[in-house]
C-alpha cells in the first residue's frame, strides 16, 4: 500500500516568536479547521472514485434476478458467477490472446525502441531534430488515419486478417511513444558516463547495453508497463484485425460480445468486468512506483 510515499507539504511555521498565546491558539484552530475541510473533500472525492468499483463488485455477486432490481446489496452472495464467467466458452482463449498480444508486443516494442531512443538522445547527427519531430508526429497520429491501407496491406497482401499478427509485428519496428519516453529519460543521464566508456574504447553498442541501460532500468520498467496496458486495453486494433475470428479475440474485445451473449445478465457481465479489471489493479499494487514514474515522465518539463 502507498501509505508512506504520499506527498506532503511542510506546513508553514504557524507561529512567530512575538506572537501571543491567543494568536497561537487561533492559528492552531485554523489549521484544525483546514485539516477537517481538506479531509472531508478528500473523502467525498474518494467516494466518487471508489463507489463505481463497489457497485460493480456488488452486482457481480448478485443473482441474475436481483441485478435487474434497484436493490444495491446482494441478498445471497453468488460467488459462482465468477466460475460461470471463467467457464464461458472462449474466455480462456481471450486471456491467452491478450497475454500473447500484450506480452510479445511489449517485448518487441521495448526491445526495438531502445537503440532508437539511445541514438536520438546520445548521438549528434544531421536530421536529429527532424527525426524527433517525426517521432512526435507518429505518436500523435490517431490509428484510424492509416487503418484503411494498413488493413488492406495485412489482409490482401499478407493474408493475416483474423489473427493478432498485424497488431504484434509492427511493434518489432519501434513504437513512437516508447521511443519518445525512453529518449526523454536517456537525456537526463550525464554525458560523462558515455564519454568515459568511449575513451576506454568501448563500442557504442556495448556502452548502451552495459553502461546506460542498467541506469535506465526504472524508465524501461515504466514504458514496458505502459505498453503492456496499452495492448491489454486496446479495443480498436482487435476490432479491426481479429473481429471476424473469435479464436483471435482479446479480453477487451471479447467483453463487449460477452454482454451480447448475456443480454440481461448484468451480474455476469459485471463479474467479467471485475475479472478484467482485477489483474490491472493487482499489478498496480506491485508496480506502483513504475506507474507513477511513467506518468510523471510523460509530464516532465524541459
Amino acid at each position: 500500500m502507498a501509505t508512506t510515499t504520499g506527498p506532503t507539504l511542510t506546513p508553514l511555521p504557524s507561529t512567530l516568536p512575538e506572537e501571543t498565546g491567543g494568536a497561537r491558539r487561533e492559528a492552531r484552530r485554523r489549521a484544525t479547521l483546514e485539516w477537517i475541510a481538506v479531509h472531508s473533500l478528500a473523502i467525498a472525492a474518494a467516494l466518487f472514485f471508489l463507489l463505481p468499483f463497489v457497485f460493480v463488485f456488488l452486482t457481480a455477486v448478485m443473482s441474475s434476478d436481483q441485478a435487474l432490481t434497484r436493490e444495491l446489496w446482494p441478498h445471497t452472495w453468488e460467488w459462482g458467477n465468477f466460475a460461470t464467467v471463467w467457464n464461458t466458452p472462449g474466455f480462456l482463449t481471450w486471456w491467452r490472446n491478450t497475454l500473447l498480444y500484450a506480452g510479445l508486443g511489449t517485448v518487441l516494442a521495448v526491445g526495438s525502441s531502445i537503440p532508437v531512443a539511445y541514438a536520438l538522445a546520445k548521438f549528434r547527427f544531421r536530421g536529429r531534430n527532424l527525426a524527433m519531430m517525426l517521432v512526435i508526429a507518429m505518436m500523435m497520429l490517431p490509428p484510424q488515419v492509416v487503418v484503411v491501407p494498413m488493413y488492406l496491406f495485412w489482409a490482401k497482401q499478407l493474408d493475416l486478417a483474423g489473427t493478432l499478427w498485424p497488431l504484434i509485428i509492427p511493434f518489432a519496428f519501434g513504437n513512437a511513444f516508447t521511443i519518445f519516453l525512453l529518449r526523454q529519460f536517456l537525456l537526463t543521464i550525464p554525458k560523462e558516463y558515455t564519454e568515459a566508456a568511449r575513451i576506454d574504447g568501448c563500442s557504442e553498442f556495448r556502452t548502451m547495453v552495459r553502461i546506460v541501460l542498467p541506469m535506465a532500468k526504472p524508465a524501461i520498467a515504466a514504458v514496458a508497463l505502459f505498453h503492456f496496458f496499452y495492448c491489454w486495453n486496446d479495443y480498436f486494433g482487435p476490432q479491426i484485425y481479429a473481429s471476424e475470428n473469435p479464436a483471435a479475440w482479446t479480453l477487451s474485445y471479447g467483453l463487449e460480445s460477452f454482454k451480447g451473449a448475456h443480454q440481461t445478465d448484468w451480474n455476469l457481465t459485471m463479474a467479467a468486468t471485475v475479472m478484467i479489471m482485477a489483474p490491472v489493479i493487482v499489478v498496480f499494487f506491485f508496480a506502483q512506483k513504475a506507474f507513477i514514474e511513467g506518468v510523471t515522465l510523460t509530464g516532465v518539463k524541459g
Partner: protein, 315 residues
C-alpha cells in the same frame, strides 16, 4: 569537404552508418506504418474501392459525398469539437483540483492517491460497460441513489442531451494520470515563493494565482494539448457506450445505428470505421481519415511551437 582530413572523413562515415544502424528499426517502422499508409490514404481518397473490385478513379466524388451527403460526418465533427472543448477543459480543471487536494492532504495521502488513481487503470471497455450499468436509467445504482435523495433521474447514456455529459463523467472518473502530473508539478513549486507571498500578505487565492499558476502553466498547457490529442482519437468509450446503452451489442449481423442516441456519441474516428469497415466505402473512409489527420497535425504543430515540455532542451 576537400579540406577534411581523409581519416576524419572515414570516421564520420562510420559514425553515420552507426547512427543508421541504431535508427533502423524505426526507419523501417516509419516508412511501412506511417509514410506508406498515409500516401495510400491520399490515393484512395480519390478512388472508388469496395475492397474487392479494382479501384477506379472518381476525382473529388468521395470528398463531396463526405461533406454533403454522408449523414454522420457533421454530427461526428461537432461531437468531437464539443468533447475537445468541454471534456478537455473539465478534465484539466478537475485534474488540477484533485492534484491540489492531494498535496494538501496530511493524513493518509498515499491511500487517497491510490484511490484517485485506480479508475485510470480500468480498461476502457470495462470502465464504459460499468458506467453504462451504473448510469442505467431504469435500475442503475446512480439513479437509485439520486432517487433516494429525492433528486431527478437523468436518462444518461440513453438521452441525447445527457450522452456527452455521461461520457465526460466517465472521463473525469479516469483522471488519475493528470492528477499525478499536476501533483508532481505542484510539489516542484519552490516553497520560498509561497513563504515570500505570505509575508507580503497574500491570501490563498492570491498565492494560487500569482505563485502556483505561473509555476505550473507549462504543465497546464501540456495537459490541454495531450488532452486534445487524446480526444481526437476518442473511440472506444463512445462506441461501446452507444452499443451497450442501445441494447445492441456483439453478435454479428445485428444492425447498429452509429452514435446512439441520435448520433450524439459519434466521433470522427468512429466514422472512419463506419465507412471503411461497415459500408466498405474505402474512398470515403480515407477522406475522413485525412480530415482527422489534418486536425491532429494542426494540434501537433501548436505543440511543437510552444514546446510545452515536450521537447527537452537539446544538450
Amino acid at each position: 569537404m576537400s579540406t577534411v582530413h581523409p581519416g576524419l572523413r572515414a570516421k564520420r562515415r562510420k559514425a553515420n552508418l552507426r547512427t543508421l544502424g541504431f535508427l533502423s528499426p524505426w526507419l523501417i517502422g516509419f516508412s511501412v506504418f506511417f509514410a506508406y499508409p498515409l500516401i495510400s490514404t491520399v490515393y484512395f481518397s480519390f478512388m472508388k474501392y469496395d475492397g474487392f473490385a479494382p479501384p477506379t478513379w472518381v476525382g473529388l466524388k468521395n470528398w463531396t459525398y463526405v461533406f454533403s451527403d454522408y449523414p454522420f460526418f457533421w454530427p461526428a465533427l461537432r461531437n468531437t469539437l464539443w468533447l475537445v472543448l468541454v471534456m478537455v477543459s473539465l478534465r484539466v480543471l478537475f485534474g488540477l483540483g484533485i492534484g491540489l487536494l492531494i498535496t494538501k492532504i496530511k493524513t493518509g495521502a498515499g491511500l487517497f492517491r491510490t484511490f484517485f488513481y485506480l479508475p485510470y487503470l480500468a480498461p476502457p471497455v470495462a470502465a464504459t460497460m460499468s458506467f453504462v450499468f451504473l448510469l442505467n436509467p431504469g435500475t442503475g445504482p446512480a439513479n437509485t441513489v439520486l432517487n433516494a435523495l429525492g433528486l431527478p433521474e437523468p436518462g444518461w447514456f440513453t438521452d441525447p442531451s445527457w450522452s456527452k455529459p455521461s461520457l465526460t463523467l466517465l472521463a473525469l472518473w479516469g483522471i488519475g494520470d493528470l492528477m499525478v502530473i499536476f501533483m508532481a508539478a505542484l510539489l516542484d513549486v519552490p516553497k520560498e515563493q509561497y513563504e515570500a507571498a505570505e509575508l507580503d500578505g497574500a491570501g490563498p487565492w492570491h498565492r494560487f494565482r500569482f505563485v502556483t499558476l505561473p509555476n505550473i502553466s507549462p504543465i497546464v498547457l501540456f495537459a490541454v494539448i495531450t488532452g486534445v490529442i487524446a480526444t481526437m482519437q476518442y473511440y472506444t468509450e463512445p462506441l461501446v457506450a452507444a452499443k451497450v446503452a442501445s441494447g445492441v451489442i456483439g453478435g454479428s449481423g445485428q444492425q447498429f445505428e452509429p452514435g446512439y442516441p441520435d448520433r450524439t456519441t459519434l466521433t470522427v474516428p468512429q466514422i472512419v470505421y463506419n465507412l471503411g469497415f461497415q459500408r466498405f466505402d474505402t474512398g470515403a473512409a480515407c477522406v475522413v481519415a485525412l480530415v482527422l489527420f489534418a486536425l491532429a497535425m494542426t494540434f501537433t504543430a501548436v505543440l511543437m511551437r510552444r514546446r510545452s515540455g515536450f521537447m527537452t532542451a537539446e544538450d
